[in-house]
């Protein structure tokens, strides 16, 4: 039986979930570097961590998601992402990636119901600029 996946805090502002790395950039932005396949378990742990961070951080939160090293995400995981994006404490979600694969992956997340608080970018700078706008 595979060990259960749990998020781990590795420093004051850094966490891991499997290979994924989650960092608090400032008090209003969470940076997620998605690495490898995103399963239902990953999504469940990301949700737990978000709920913890959302309860600790003041005001609304932005998410900056790097998909350059991400694998596919499961349908259930995408459902969880959608819930998080729709969370009342979520302000904006910027997803970025240089490769065509990242664009496709992002389409499966950003394309959800034509949400206006989520956008795809081909580089980190544009993504951050949009979040700060």
């Amino acid at each position: 039986m595979a060990p259960q996946l749990c998020y781990k805090q590795i420093s004051e502002k850094e966490f891991t979930i499997g290979e994924n790395r989650i960092t608090l950039l400032d008090n209003s932005t969470i940076y997620i570097e998605a690495i490898g396949e995103q399963t239902d378990e990953h999504a469940r742990e990301i949700l737990k961590l978000y709920q913890k961070l959302y309860s600790e951080l003041p005001g609304k939160i932005n998410q900056l998601v790097n998909l350059d090293r991400s694998g596919k995400s499961s349908p259930k995981a995408r459902q969880v992402y959608e819930e998080m994006n729709n969370h009342e404490s979520t302000h904006k979600v910027a997803v970025y990636g240089i490769h065509p694969v990242a664009r496709v992956l992002a389409a499966f997340v950003t394309g959800i119901k034509g949400k206006k608080n989520i956008e795809f970018f081909t580089n980190k700078e544009d993504a951050m600029a949009w979040l700060k706008k």
Partner: protein
């Protein structure tokens, strides 16, 4: 296009074909390059996952839908069953109160008419008939209860089918006049008049099945005929009861054997009944290891057919010393009636008086023992079970110890098979239940005195 791209595109096409054929396990490998071909492969992989999840969700929904339909049907069945029970209880209440009302009412006014013989006869006849109706109803309820709880037992005995059905024919041919069905032709089709058909069967139950079916046939037939009979088919006997009555609509045919079902509850006055008859018929036939079915056309009539296993036996000779010129003569014999209920005691004395048997009576066991000890001749005891002091059941061994050859017939309102078994195990020679049928009682006495 380079070789890798060509190969990758072939791989993508093959995957799409598989997916089109419904294979949602397809996944295309992606490389480290993360190029457009990998993007296409990744997109296809995720679309397949979505399709698979969608199909699983649809299957799950279908299962839930089917389960919901099942639950809905179960709920409907439970409600129907509850509804039928309520109707049944209302119906039973009505069926019990109606004869009771007549019995109590006429019994109250009867003393006023002691001197008017015509009215006296009419009112006592009503009381008797209503009492018999009540008796039938209680018997039906007890039968149904015994069948449903598996407590009804089979009492197999020798039976001449031609004789049984001929008796039924004579009874119903006479009875039809009493129920205003004199215009209905009743016929019995003997299987072979030259050859009696002796079989081993629970004769009482077979008779009860026929009585219920023929009564039903008469009830629903306004003109024409009711016929019944049997034929041997391999190792089975197939019986039938057919009528030219109103028939049963096809949609109602599967319901006729359900308990508490009266085919048309709105026509209560025309087709009086409790809705138990056919449920009992089916239960009894199944108890005899048989099956029952029906054919019916509205306006043309109904034919009930039932089969039971056939076991032919050889005929026994039977001489009857007690009966001469059609009258029963027990002269020279002596009977002791032990009965504490005065009306029952009078009734028994009345029934026996025509047989010229010597009658002795007591109301308790102590007095009966005194009669025994006085040396008086007693060939037979008619013993009630529910006596004050020493019960009838306790008294049987006492009498048997004193005079082993004196026959004891238990006559009681305790009607279950268990009561019968206890009485016979205690040493009783015969058992008859109240209300006592005079012919049945005389036949039983005859059997005991001449056995």
């Amino acid at each position: 296009m380079d070789e890798r791209s060509e190969k990758k595109i072939d791989e993508l096409i093959a995957a799409v074909i598989k997916i089109a054929k419904g294979d949602y396990t397809v996944q295309i490998e992606t490389s480290e390059k993360n190029d457009k071909l990998d993007a296409l492969a990744m997109g296809i992989n995720m679309l397949v996952d979505d399709l698979k999840t969608g199909r699983e969700a649809a299957l799950e929904n279908e299962k839930i839908k089917l389960r919901n339909i099942e639950l809905q049907n179960e709920k409907i069945r439970a409600l129907e069953s509850e509804h039928l029970k309520t109707i049944f209880l209302q119906n039973m209440s009505h069926e019990l109160r109606t004869p009771l009302n007549a019995i109590i009412g006429f019994a109250e006014i009867l003393p006023k008419y002691f001197k008017e013989k015509e009215k006296l006869a009419q009112y006592t006849s009503i009381i008797r008939q209503q009492g018999l109706d009540l008796h039938d109803l209680i018997n039906d309820l007890l039968d149904l209860s015994s069948i449903e709880t598996g407590k009804m037992t089979i009492n197999t005995e020798e039976c001449d089918l031609n004789e049984l059905l001929n008796d039924l024919f004579l009874f119903f041919n006479n009875h039809k006049h009493k129920i205003g069905k004199q215009d209905i032709d009743i016929s019995y089709e003997p299987n072979n008049t030259e050859k009696p058909y002796h079989i081993l069967v629970d004769k009482g139950k077979l008779r009860q099945i026929f009585v219920n079916l023929i009564f039903n046939a008469l009830k629903f037939t306004h003109k024409g005929a009711v016929s019944f009979g049997f034929e041997i088919k391999n190792k089975q006997i197939e019986f039938f009861v057919a009528d030219t009555g109103i028939g049963i609509p096809p949609e109602k045919q599967p319901l006729v054997f359900d308990r508490f079902i009266r085919l048309d509850p709105h026509s209560e006055n025309e087709f009086k009944g409790k809705g138990l008859g056919l449920a009992i018929v089916k239960g009894l036939i199944e108890l005899l290891k048989g099956t029952v079915n029906l054919e019916s056309k509205v306006g043309e009539g109904t034919r009930f057919k039932f089969t039971i296993p056939y076991e032919e036996i050889t005929i026994k000779e039977n001489n009857d010393p007690a009966e001469s010129n059609g009258t029963i003569d027990f002269s020279g014999y002596s009977v002791l009636i032990i009965e504490n209920d005065i009306t029952n005691s009078i009734y028994l004395e009345e029934v026996l008086s025509e047989t010229k048997i010597n009658i002795l009576k007591t109301t308790n066991i102590n007095d009966a023992v005194s009669v025994f000890d006085s040396g008086t001749r007693i060939d037979l005891i008619l013993l009630d079970l529910g006596l004050p002091g020493i019960s009838g059941l306790e008294a049987i061994p006492i009498f048997k110890l004193k005079r082993p050859h004196t026959k004891i017939i238990v006559q009681t309102a305790y009607t279950s098979n268990e009561d019968r078994k206890k009485a016979l195990e205690a040493g009783g020679d015969g058992f008859i239940t109240k209300p006592i049928d005079s012919e049945e009682l005389l036949a039983l006495i005859k059997e005991q005195l001449y056995s």
